[in-house]
């Protein structure tokens, strides 16, 4: 299957007082059409930076792309004309669902105004031209009417009660779950091929999370949209994703189809991460040590200072990505196999 998105050896530095921090250090990532990929990792592992790099919205002063490719449908977005990316890709072919539904709307405009603003520029009816709205930013009445119809239809699809009335209301009149439904609707409206969802349910209660995940998964499967879903919660990834990628200290450590990932995790970090989820019997297992500094990352494998299986090889040489089974890759010198149970 041809990949929709292929990130190759992506390296991004952030400027800090103590020198450049290697926030992404040779990351590879593939997303196939219609696939929901979970990007899992702890704070500071680089998952948000990766999501932003794909969208081309890294903070301009602070971040520097050192190398690599972000190929979307064969075109390297990092080397493509930025205006073309803005016209055709960002907010159109690739859309975004933010983590925080509370601060992503302007509090002073009705929700409908804000959604129609999006449609004025990013409606699928505009085509890929450089001037989405016509001369002087006019919004043709015909198109506006059709767009509004599409908005109402999408709001119904995300199960927002009373869509027509909802458009006249202000953001604070909605609960967090409803605002996240609005965000999902806005991400779907430009008819994207890829949605990047950055921890979209982290701020929500479990019952609301379950409702939102169900809605999101049903809609993307029905429309054949791919999703890159970042989360720090392994159980959420298990819930919604077809494939899971684990990141640690700026590198992807393991990638596998969801069932294989949870049944046969091969990277020692993945195994420790899974073990630290609180268990029913109350046993708690943490990962000793702390996440390494990205300014002076450890030589060799990024995880070796905390790894129980580390050898001289791990301390000296960075492991290359190796393929264990169909679609199951791991970046480790000594991947754990199923019989060597930790």
């Amino acid at each position: 299957m041809a990949d929709l998105l292929a990130v190759r050896d992506l390296r991004v530095d952030y400027v800090t007082d103590r020198g450049p921090a290697q926030v992404l250090d040779g990351v590879n990532l593939d997303v196939a059409p219609g696939e929901v990929v979970g990007l899992v990792g702890e704070s500071g592992c680089g998952k948000t930076t990766l999501a932003r790099a794909i969208l081309g919205i890294l903070p301009a002063g602070a971040a520097r792309i050192r190398g690599g490719e972000v190929r979307f449908k064969g075109v390297d977005l990092l080397r493509e004309d930025p205006r073309a990316v803005n016209d055709r890709v960002r907010g159109r072919a690739i859309t975004f669902i933010p983590q925080d539904p509370f601060t992503s709307f302007s509090p002073v405009f009705a929700v409908g105004t804000q959604i129609m603003d999006l449609m004025k520029w990013k409606s699928p009816r505009v085509g890929g031209g450089r001037r989405p709205a016509t001369l002087f930013g006019r919004y043709p009445r015909e198109r506006r009417r059709a767009d509004r119809e599409a908005v109402l239809q999408t709001l119904r699809a995300v199960h927002l009660p009373e869509p027509a009335r909802a458009l006249r209301r202000l953001p604070h009149e909605f609960s967090g779950g409803q605002r996240q439904r609005l965000m999902i609707a806005m991400a779907l409206l430009p008819r994207p091929e890829l949605i990047i969802a950055d921890e979209p349910t982290t701020a929500l209660d479990v019952t609301i999370q379950a409702q939102i995940l169900r809605t999101l998964r049903a809609l993307v499967k029905e429309r054949g949209v791919s999703v890159l879903f970042t989360t720090h919660d392994l159980a959420t990834a298990h819930e919604i994703c077809d494939r899971v990628v684990v990141m640690y200290a700026g590198q992807e450590m393991e990638a596998a189809p969801t069932d294989a990932f949870f049944a046969r995790p091969a990277h020692p970090y993945t195994r420790r991460l899974l073990a630290s989820v609180p268990r029913r019997d109350g046993e708690l297992r943490d990962i000793p040590g702390e996440v390494p500094s990205l300014v002076t990352p450890p030589p060799g494998c990024r995880f070796h200072p905390r790894c129980e299986y580390a050898t001289a090889e791990c301390r000296a040489q960075q492991p290359a990505l190796r393929v264990l089974a169909d679609g199951h890759g791991v970046r480790c010198h000594h991947p754990v196999d199923a019989d060597r149970d930790a």
């Binding site: 702890e42 704070s43 609960s175 967090g176 779950g177 409803q178 209660d205 479990v206 019952t207 609301i208 999370q209 379950a210 409702q211 995940l213 169900r214 998964r217 720090h232 919660d233 392994l234 159980a235 959420t236 298990h238 819930e239 919604i240 949870f262 420790r272 991460l273 899974l274 630290s276 989820v277 609180p278 268990r279 029913r280 109350g282 046993e283 708690l284 297992r285 943490d286 990962i287 702390e290």
Partner: protein, 319 residues
């Protein structure tokens, strides 16, 4: 069973809702008749969704809010309506841990000064006695003495958190209310923080009230659990019993919503629709009936009270 350390009887805390002119137009019933007792040495979990009143309950017990009605008895003594001076003496035994205890450190004070302060205010210990106490506590939370001379910004987030906990423990409290102590933490860090809580409970003979919306954490930490919905406890009992056989329809939905690795996907069979109603406008009868699949005519008329069912107490007509 030993005498309860904390006994809450019919505790109510209502907040006035005012319009733009400051006129009262209604009441927000944040905590609406909650009874709960906590025995020494146990960990009681308080769970529920945002807005169910679990934090308000904790803060009312703590004395941050005054109760609208009801009683709070701590070690056999009513503390809900004590005059200020008398209440302050109780504050020593009762401590509240916010989401990030490290954030409450003064950035311009060295760690040592922050740890001395509670002892200066609440005890008559001499400087050397305080120093000895402070070092002992710092060791207990797993930090070296050298940290006493550092400023908060010189510590990592996890170390700041430990200092914040040490600060609470210097007064040797008997009851500690933990309000969402691990939300926002990564799982691996969460595991070490929870381990620390457990260790401290052993060392200092603490009693915990553990407020959290994370059910898997509560399951791992608490012996008993109380589930709240719209200001009321709907089910309370032994954690294992409640998790294995939830009886209240709300508890059932809440547990069904928790994603579990390796289990069935909850998105396939999760059934609870809608969101909790506004606590300004609580439904008549049972508060959960508007979302309950089992609701019958009686549920709208009569408010269910907690009754003994299957080894725990449940507030439901049909459970």
């Amino acid at each position: 069973m030993s005498a309860p350390l904390l006994e809450i009887v019919d505790l109510t805390r209502h907040f006035p809702v005012r319009d733009a002119f400051g006129r009262r137009v209604g009441w927000l019933r944040a905590v609406d008749g909650v009874s709960l007792s906590v025995t020494p040495g146990e960990t009681v979990g308080l769970v529920g969704e945002s807005g169910c009143g679990k934090s308000t309950l904790g803060k009312t017990v703590m004395g941050i809010y005054t109760p609208t009605a009801g009683e709070i008895r701590f070690a056999g003594r009513e503390i809900g309506r004590l005059p200020r001076r008398a209440r302050r003496a109780v504050a020593k035994d009762l401590q509240y841990v916010y989401q990030d205890p490290g954030a409450s450190l003064d950035p311009r004070w060295k760690v040592g000064a922050s740890l001395h302060e509670p002892l200066r205010i609440h005890t008559r210990l001499s400087r050397t006695e305080r120093e000895r106490e402070v070092r002992a506590i710092l060791g207990a939370v797993g930090l070296p003495d050298a940290h006493l001379d550092l400023y908060p910004h010189e510590l990592s987030g996890g170390q700041q958190r430990r200092v914040g906990l040490a600060r609470i423990l210097t007064l040797r409290p008997r009851l500690v209310i933990l309000d969402e102590p691990t939300s926002g933490l990564d799982v691996s860090v969460q595991a070490s923080v929870l381990k620390l809580f457990r260790g401290l409970q052993q060392t200092f003979a603490l009693t915990y009230v553990f407020i959290s919306h994370d059910l898997s954490v509560v399951q791992a930490m608490c012996g008993r659990i109380a589930v709240m919905y719209l200001g009321k406890i709907v089910e309370v009992g032994d954690t294992t019993a409640v998790f294995d056989r939830p009886r209240h329809p709300y508890t059932q939905s809440l547990l069904a919503a928790v994603p579990r690795i390796g289990g069935r996907r909850v998105t396939h069979d999760f059934a609870l629709e809608g969101e909790p109603p506004n606590p300004r406008d609580v439904p008549s009868g049972c508060r959960f009936r508007t979302r309950c699949a089992l609701a019958e005519e009686r549920c709208a008329r009569e408010e269910p009270t907690l009754r003994e069912v299957d080894g725990r107490r449940v507030a439901c007509h049909v459970a």
